[in-house]
Symmetry: C2
Subunit: 206 residues, 2 copies
DNA sequence: ACCTGAACACCGTTCAAGT
DNA sequence: ACCTGAACACCGTTCAAGT
């Protein structure tokens, strides 16, 4: 007991351990987090203010890792490719922690990593000469679809389990469908293509 | 104490009271719910299995009210209008209970009202002659964007508060923008138009 | 500065006891 | 069948006490 010669905790360690618990169990508790870190629950409060800050930290970790992976910048020079790559990269990053997404929505975004991710998207449209209004709309539209698609990825396929009697159209379509890949991924690509094609009509020089 | 001559609770009353609490405070607790219903917390368990069932009931209430409002069926005969009306209606219904959305995502959909809502959307595409694959993709794409837009509606405008130094493109765009209406609504309409136009290229007879 | 153990108010859920 | 009060395990957070 007492203070150790070197700190055994840090914000980073706390956030990553919390994310691991969420990935495994879909949620985390302070006692559970303390146990995983081999520490007392009260110790955690020397490094973070409370549970909300940990949730924000989880978002930050996901964003940092996504930025470190560098996928946001691998696309070609065309703004269409870069915007599509942005949506694909961030949806993928969130999808790797699908169980965390329900925890993240509803809390305001304040961490630097996530803001940097959105700054990158805005910059794509600004560079292309979109007006301020169009930048705002383009970012919002792409973000909404990306997030909705990430949530769809998170929800089990059985969420669409309609009954043959009560939801015939829904039931038959899913029964008879034979998509050449995961439903969520294919739908995401269709939606991104649709949105980017339409955004192209907004900018005169496109 | 003891059993009253007539039941004072019902699933419906519990669900609606819980939704009221969520609308007001963004969450609900069993003790808080019991207090609002002028009842003991344990009484609630005679009508519902537990907290998850109440959350599902909240979704059901929102769906039922949306169906009762009838907006899903007011659109013209064209499938494009009907699909757009579907997305607009359901996003609006969810938006009226924005604080509830974070609670709903992450729980599987099983209630009849919500399934009926999605059945209606699937039927639009089936009637138009979409293949099973295209019905599945069309429903998924529109649902993802609708849900993402509803979440965007739920998050405060300040969620986009970027700093002038660290996120110049994002900051300037939001600073300089002068949209002719709420950002979320305008962006939603742009996205829906984009998606529906693109879905039109999937169906030969469109 | 950083960890611990004890303590607090609170939450979800159960159950025997009443009518 | 339906409501109550007591009880349980558990959770988030605080704080004095240690080094």
């Amino acid at each position: 007991m007492g203070r150790p010669r070197q700190a055994i905790l840090s914000q980073e360690k706390i956030y990553r351990a919390a994310l691991e618990l969420v990935d495994e169990f879909g949620d985390f508790t302070l006692p559970g987090l303390a146990k995983r870190l081999s520490v007392s629950p009260s110790s955690i409060y020397h490094h973070v203010q409370g549970r909300p800050e940990i949730i924000n930290g989880i978002r930050s970790v996901i964003g940092s890792d996504a930025l470190a992976a560098g996928d946001f910048f691998t696309a070609g020079p065309a703004w269409q490719d870069r915007a599509a790559a942005w949506a694909r990269s961030y949806r993928s990053a969130l999808g790797q922690h699908a169980k965390a997404i329900p925890l993240l929505v509803g809390e305001a975004v304040t961490d630097a990593a996530t803001l940097e991710i959105y700054e990158h998207l805005a910059a794509v449209f600004v560079e292309q000469g979109f007006t301020a209004n169009d930048v705002v709309v383009a970012v919002t539209v792409l973000d909404s679809f990306m997030l909705g698609s990430a949530l769809d990825m998170a929800s089990p396929e059985s969420a669409w389990l309609a009954s043959a009697e009560d939801q015939p159209a829904l039931h038959r379509a899913f029964e008879a469908s034979s998509l050449g890949g995961p439903r969520s991924d294919l739908s995401f690509e269709v939606g991104v293509a649709a949105i980017i094609a339409h955004l192209g009509t907004l900018v005169p020089q496109a």
